[in-house]
């Protein structure tokens, strides 16, 4: 049964994953073309920007199964079919969120490989430990962003969800300038990254996972009560 839910989630998200992969390919190519001239910090900023886009893209759809505008009647079309199956809404949400998160991890991994290749080609040697550390930080911090997108999607319908998620991310970025460094995820991914020789930002990573759980819990509570 859950295999089928994963299968369904995969069918729903594969186009988004393709889009995300194109995004990563494009950004990596861009970095390659700038090549050796680019300072390492710029590569890090680009990577962070791509992560925001990845998290925003892959988190979409919640338990909805098709964009509202493709439904002939009502707002959610085939979502009714999903909800009529003998499955808890929590399981629907969890499967969908997990599949998207795995895709995020995959995308991030590819992106980090690109960054690694870039460093080989001359940005200046990067310690493998710094590279791995950076990847871990990106994944940890991306998880919060990702689940923010999952949460936004539970109550915003298709036409508003992208804008809503972007506004939410902007808000988080703005808030980060008022956040103590110890739990500031944007700093952790950027100037305080292990890639630039800093220590692992365990505090920010733990905080990010904590916030991701809060977001998932909130999403569950919305979905549990929501009427479709």
């Amino acid at each position: 049964m859950w295999q089928m839910l994963i299968y369904k989630s995969w069918m729903e998200t594969r186009l988004k994953l393709l889009y995300a992969l194109l995004l990563i390919g494009g950004s990596s190519a861009l970095m390659f073309s700038v090549g050796a001239k680019a300072p390492r910090s710029q590569a890090v900023v680009t990577a962070q920007f791509v992560l925001l886009l990845l998290a925003g893209t892959l988190s979409g759809s919640g338990i909805k199964t098709q964009p509202a505008f493709t439904a002939t009647k009502g707002l959610h079309g085939s979502t009714y079919y999903t909800l009529s199956l003998p499955v808890a809404r929590l399981l629907l949400l969890a499967t969908r969120a997990t599949v998207g998160w795995l895709e995020l991890t995959f995308g991030l991994g590819l992106q980090m490989c690109g960054l690694w290749a870039l460093s080989r080609s001359g940005v200046g040697s990067i310690e493998p430990s710094g590279m791995l550390g950076h990847a871990a930080v990106m994944l940890a911090c991306g998880t919060w962003l990702y689940f923010t997108g999952v949460f936004m999607d539970t109550f915003l319908d298709e036409q508003w969800r992208n804008q809503g998620t972007l506004v939410m991310f902007a808000l988080l970025l703005w808030l980060s300038s008022h956040t103590p460094d110890a739990i500031n995820i944007f700093k952790a991914m950027n100037e305080a990254s292990p890639l630039l020789g800093h220590a692992m930002p365990w505090g920010a990573m733990a905080f990010s996972f904590g916030m991701a759980s809060v977001m998932f819990f909130a999403a569950w509570k919305v979905i549990e009560r929501r009427e479709y």
Partner: protein, 297 residues
């Protein structure tokens, strides 16, 4: 458990202040084919969504198989035993016929492969075709296949014949009769095609403005309801007060046409007592019962 597979009591539900259900009492006997009738917007789909656990009512109770449909844990148990056809017949646009069947099968341990094969053949469904490329009629048939093959004890069908041509309607109704005849399946279906309901339903409920206004065994209703036609002599006027049970009176020249919902014999007797009266009684169709109540409500 009671003899009713579905039992709601004083169900209420509003959407943004607009009442959709206003104290609905619905009782569907086990083993029946129950026709759920009403105009568009009368509350049929809201009722069905509540039974499926998609909506939370504002008040009242909804029990299916003796379990509350309003709690998620019991609603999941209920849904394991229900075959469902949605009003809009929407299925995942990214799947093919074969994929949606494989997908759905995984959720129902009692899945009947024999029925799946039978309906694939009977309905001539193309396995490899994507759902958006199916006609409306094919999608309705596909949904029916997905509902019946679950081996469900209860089929909840929201306008199952909507969008089908007459030949396909006949096919679908015949299959519903077949699954009802083959065991303990209860069928609860909404429709506004009165003639098809009249054929296959043994119980009906008419909902109007969120309330059940007539419900019962169809044969009993037909026995209770009669049209009585009275022709009076030239100088005789019909009585001011009729016996209890007269639903509606229409006067055309000398002819008084009465729709009676009970006490038919007493009404006939009263009519016959009028000087020079000729009294005839006629059976009433479901359509007449429906229109009478929906118009006067």
């Amino acid at each position: 458990m009671s003899d009713f597979i579905i039992e709601t009591h004083q169900l209420t539900k509003s959407f943004k202040g607009q009442p959709a259900l206003r104290g609905l009492d619905l009782r569907v006997p086990a083993g029946s084919i129950f026709g759920f009738l009403g105009r568009n917007g009368a509350g049929k789909t809201t009722t069905i969504k509540t039974l499926m656990g998609l909506l939370q009512p504002d008040g009242g109770t909804a029990m299916v198989f003796g379990m509350p449909a309003t709690h998620e844990a019991s609603s999941i148990k209920i849904r394991q035993r229900i075959g469902f056809v949605t009003e809009d017949k929407e299925l995942y646009p990214y799947m093919t016929v074969e994929q949606i069947i494989r997908f759905t099968r995984a959720f129902y341990p009692k899945w009947r492969v024999d029925l799946e094969r039978r309906y694939l053949q009977l309905f001539e469904l193309p396995l490899k075709r994507k759902i958006p490329d199916l006609s409306k009629g094919m999608r309705s048939k596909l949904m029916l296949l997905l509902a019946i093959s679950r081996g469900a004890e209860l089929l909840i069908l929201d306008e199952p014949t909507d969008g089908l041509d007459p030949a396909a309607i006949e096919d679908v109704l015949r299959e519903l009769v077949r699954s009802a005849a083959s065991g303990d399946t209860t069928i609860f279906f909404s429709s506004h095609q009165l003639h098809e309901v009249e054929g296959i339903a043994d119980h009906i409920g008419i909902i109007d403005r969120g309330k059940m206004i007539v419900t019962g065994a169809l044969d009993d209703l037909k026995a209770q309801y009669q049209r009585i036609q009275v022709v009076l002599g030239d100088w005789v006027s019909p009585p001011e007060h009729w016996v209890d049970g007269v639903e509606h009176i229409r006067q055309e020249g000398r002819v008084t046409s009465i729709l009676a919902s009970r006490n038919v014999d007493a009404i006939v007797q009263q009519a016959q007592s009028l000087p020079g009266a000729t009294v005839e009684r006629f059976p009433v169709t479901l359509k007449e019962i429906f229109l009478e109540h929906v118009r006067s409500n």
